[in-house]
Amino acid sequence: MAASSSHVVLASTFSESVSKLAGVLEAVGGFLAVLLIVFFVAGRVTGRLQKPLAIIICLGPAVVLATVGLVIPAINTMVLSTTNTQASGQKFTLVNGKLVPIKAKFVGVDNYTFAFTDPDTRSTLIRTVLWIVIVPLVTVFIGLLLALLTDQMKRVTLAKSLIFLPTAISFVGAALIWELMYDYVGPGNPQTGLLSEVVIKLGWHNPPNWITSSPLNTFLMMIVLVWIEVGFAMVVLGAALKAIPEEILEAARMDGATGITLFRTVQIPMIRSTLIVVTTTITIATLKIFDIVYTMTNGNFNTDILARDMYDKLFVTNQTGKGSALAVILFLCVLPLVIYNVFQMRRDRATR
């Protein structure tokens, strides 16, 4: 009986799946067809108009999409952050089928004052700072260590692949994997979490419930992100080390530099710019991290961070003004890093 009903479900699921995927292929085909037609028609145009037209066709879609999806919402959020808007960010609402503007009052910096004075939000901010200091530092340190150790080593492809593997695992998946590691069972019972099992074997007979004990839980969740990002740091830094000309290393060794000295005086300075890029990338990723905390604790047990709190205010509790202020704070935190990177890149682009 159960089998036959599951077959019926299976059949309907199957047909729904097929029609869905067919629709997707149709959409992709349509997109490519439009692109081809545009290219074909525009290809007939020659003369003075050719270059401007090509620029519009090539750059136009990207610029329009980036404007609609990123620039306008960003500006909009900044405006919203100075209002007391409550509804989920809507300027208009439907009343009897008509668009009616929602009246939002200008409240100046009130939302920002709230963010820095409300005890909960303030500890969320402090916790976020901890994340963006600790995670990139630890990740780059381990990544660099691995890159240096494997630099001259043979037969490390498998090890590197295994360490790089978590990069492909979603934050949600990683959260599940680590929830199992941190699983808690009362003392005396057989343990199901590896962490508890190990510390009990080591003599700590009454380990805490890891995920609910603050402030330990924040650090345990940081480990998840470090676990995901180390592979990235290792691969990019490893390639930078490989790119150092052998002659330079040779000259340094002739001068007697080995091991740590060689590393400190030659290798590190040579890969400085890569180190900065990697650190920046990981810092930005850390600031935006949302899924891990959302899945593992949903911000409970004193683990909340800016990106999750913001999501809560914007989409769950409808405090759009306050949520927007948090978004702007997040934005301002990352901005200096990106500006720094832009200046670095401008130098490269100019010298190319």
Binding site: V24, Q50, A74, T150, G173, T295, A307
Partner: protein
Amino acid sequence: MTSNPPIIETRVPPVSEPLKGREATKAVRKAFSHPIASAVVVLLTVLWTIPTFGFFLNSLRSKENVYGSGWWEWFAHPQVDLTNYHTVLFSEGGLVLPLVNSLAITIPGTIIPIFLASMAAYSLAWMRFKGSDIIFFTLFALQVVPLQMALVGLQRFYNFGAHIGSVQIFPGKFFGGLTEIWLSHTMFSLPLAVFLLHNFIAQIPESLIEAARVDGATHLRIFRTIVLPLSMPAIASFAIFQFIWVWNDLLVAKTFGGSDASGQPVTARIQLLNGNFGAHQELLAPAGFLAIIIPLIVFVCLQRYFVRGLLAGSVKG
């Protein structure tokens, strides 16, 4: 095809005759660093592998075992019990449809940005005009915009269209649910995509492009016949990157996927199950493993290209 300088050079193993100069120092250094270094690498590799491995083993165990003991007990009592996989896949609100949804989101969410971003990257690299630098750097800098920040505005745009004053310039509810998700992923991918592809496309030898131009080829023709084929390595790496990113995304899916299970991708489904499965822990491991297996396969098969693309953007030789 382009002749990229090989990033990883194969090093010649030291020969057994008396060593001189470079080989000697290398051999000495190797001898010093090997034992401890190997131990550290092995240790870290094991540490990095255990969580996923244990998770996988747990997905193969029966309900009683999952509750009664840790996954390491599997080695004492090896078993392959696929009941939990079956339950997760086919019981009510199973994972089959979410997995299909993930594919339906990910395929266009990867293909559309590839084309739009490579076109933009080409024009920014090879059709210099006033303001092209500003557009390039602005696009790059837009990666600071947190997704949550953009989602509020986007959601409003999709639902109510665009207005100037009270004049509607774009209709609301114009796109269907899936199209909204594809468009959002395309928008959010653009900063990184244009940046990565630009770095690669800008390195195409100028002589190639000049030669085509002398022959009278238009810009669009050059893009289609020279730039696109030559950029395949970079495009491949970006495609892998984007595929994994879109597949693993939770936030966009949660915002535009709706609350109906039939439209949700696997990540959103799993995140919900994580809350609901409090009493069904045995189902979490198989569900989680089903969600990560596809990006994992893509990644393992195409890792080489992935790495190459990452490096195009961040390492200066």
